[in-house]
Assembly symmetry: C2
Homo-oligomer: 357 residues x 2
């Protein structure tokens, strides 16, 4: 595909904050944006030219959407793979392709895939019954994180278990669905690499950020991440491997645990723009949202030079209801236009310049 | 008015590129945006939650618009003053107020107002007939720019005249409407000050930019402007005077001629975000579009610290049809989503970092 001319229409599956920020970045480059997302007025639809309010498995609506878009992308990884396949069967161009989407929807498949392409993870065992959970616990040293294979996010669908716990209750707590038991990784720091791969196979990775979580939800990402150039170079190479091996076109994120000796273990991947890259639009020559749009439009990727040190903080729940006078001068504020500030819900974020680059 | 909470709706009269960039800035702060603009799919409407496609003097549509907005602003100065008055009569909050709008719609009233508040302009004479044009030419030394009092922009509605020219033809060329003859000002450089005044009366002015025109249309704005701190300080003070004397709430621009000895003469004002401030979102801690939204929402203004030296270039007509590979690496590209690349039409702009601040 030759570069999509400005004035073309980019379709986005999903209507949350990532779609909203992608839509704004696309508009800046002169594109029109259509949003496909069930619901009356999702955040992204309010900054887009068109909105298809339909379920992701509504094939008639998907066909109509495809007929009104020049290229289609997605903003979250729980879009049914069958929907993407249906779009492709209607001759739609969908970027990234199905591979990274498919892999990242299933924690077990994801970890197996990562290992197969040489990216080490923590140890893990599949769990489909209480009996299997018991065996898995023994195999992993009597302790682990039990997670649903599908649909978990922000600490949902997971529980910590030890030998001697009520395993029936634990398995019930995550819904008794196919699961994975992950060994606890004794990490010193969590980082992520947000990388873009263009349609021509070129990649550009932003500086890795140091990520801090609270209650299973990302709270803060800081760049630079405070690690040695050697660790950073290895982290980037892992992300490059992942981008190439999936044939991904667009932005993806690889979360990594850093052990005391600098060893890296993949935690998880996301086949999309990522919360830990929200500092990039302010701090870098090209932000992650523009970069993703450039990639899916077949444009050359932009430079990812970091102009300054930055700290991104998520605004969760009612934190986002603070009056505009509450933020220190120089804080760049982004709010997502969500109507309901439920506890723990990602409502916005701030970016602060913390020093010269 | 206390600060407008995020989630409120900001109405914008006008749907061009300035409205589009204002709408995106408002969305980043968590606001919804409605656009009032005649036409099927103006650039700003494609990045907004709602669009009222009606004429500016359609009072019923204005009333409905007012009922669906928490505060209303405008993106161009040729909105009828009566429309703004009607909105105010429906209890709508319109920012900026009517004063700066009214003054800036009429070149004669504008220059008289500027002079009255101590801001010097070039000499000028009113012209309402060919006879008056002849007298005016004599008074101004036999040469001048004949401009319509209303509705001119980007070099339209103006013609250069000298004694001895066919004055009948010249006056006919601008439509035979009420006009003004402006003396030619022997300037060395044109600059502009883009300034914001908050609801609390606080002002923040961006660094003045050096502006270069081609065929009466702005081509390039550069910051810093290359003038002495003394000239810059005087330019800022003039813009502050204008903002305070009009009681303006929001961003306004004052274009100034700089003479050889550093004397400043106002050329014109614009009661809105301005083309010569298009470098500010990339180069400054707060850009002019966010600043305007902050002001009209009653939020504290952001800092206008300039992070680097910048050059903004307009993309006129078919210049905007260049392939995405045509721009040097590191160029930040903004395209306006206009359908038709007519010659001289402002289609987009680029911002380049030219050095450390």
């Amino acid at each position: 595909m030759s570069p999509l001319p400005a004035g073309s229409t980019i379709g986005i599956l999903g209507g949350g904050q990532l779609g909203r920020m992608l839509a704004s970045a696309a508009a800046q480059l002169g594109f029109d944006v259509n949003i496909f997302c069930p619901g009356d007025s999702p955040p992204a639809a309010r900054v887009a030219a068109g909105h298809w309010d339909a379920d992701y498995d509504d094939h008639t609506a998907l066909e109509d959407f495809a007929a009104n878009c020049d290229v289609i992308t997605y903003e979250f990884e729980n879009i049914p793979v069958a929907s993407v396949a249906h779009l492709v069967s209607c001759s739609a161009t969908v970027r990234p392709g199905a591979k990274s989407l498919e892999v990242s929807q299933d924690r077990l498949a994801e970890k197996q895939f990562l290992n197969a392409i040489g990216i080490e993870t923590g140890r893990f065992e599949p769990v489909e019954s209480v009996g299997q959970l018991e065996t898995a616990l023994q195999a992993l040293g009597g302790e682990g994180l039990l997670k649903t294979r599908r649909d978990g996010y922000d600490g949902k669908g997971q529980v910590r278990v030890r030998s001697g716990d009520d395993l029936d209750a634990a398995y019930k707590e995550i819904g008794g669905v196919p699961a994975i038991l992950e060994a606890l990784v004794p990490f010193e720091r969590e980082i992520s690499v947000v990388i873009a791969r263009g349609a021509d196979g070129e990649t550009t990775a932003f500086d890795p950020s140091h990520n801090e979580h609270e209650n299973g939800i990302l709270k803060r990402s800081t760049a630079p991440c405070g690690l040695s150039q050697d660790v950073i170079a290895r982290a980037r190479r892992l992300a490059e491997t992942l981008a190439h091996e999936t044939g991904h076109v667009g932005v993806l994120a690889l979360e990594l645990f850093v052990l005391k000796d600098g060893t890296l273990r993949a935690n998880e991947m996301a086949p999309r723009v990522h919360n830990s890259g929200h500092w990039t639009p302010e701090a870098c020559a090209t932000g992650q949202f523009e970069q993703h749009i450039r990639a899916v439009a077949g444009w050359p990727l932009g430079p990812v030079t970091r102009h300054f040190d930055a700290e991104m903080e998520n605004l969760l729940g009612e934190e986002a209801l603070a009056p505009p006078t509450a933020y220190p001068e120089g804080t760049v504020l982004t709010l997502y236009g969500k109507r309901d500030a439920k506890p723990g819900r990602k409502m916005g974020h701030t970016v602060r310049r913390t020093g010269a680059a």
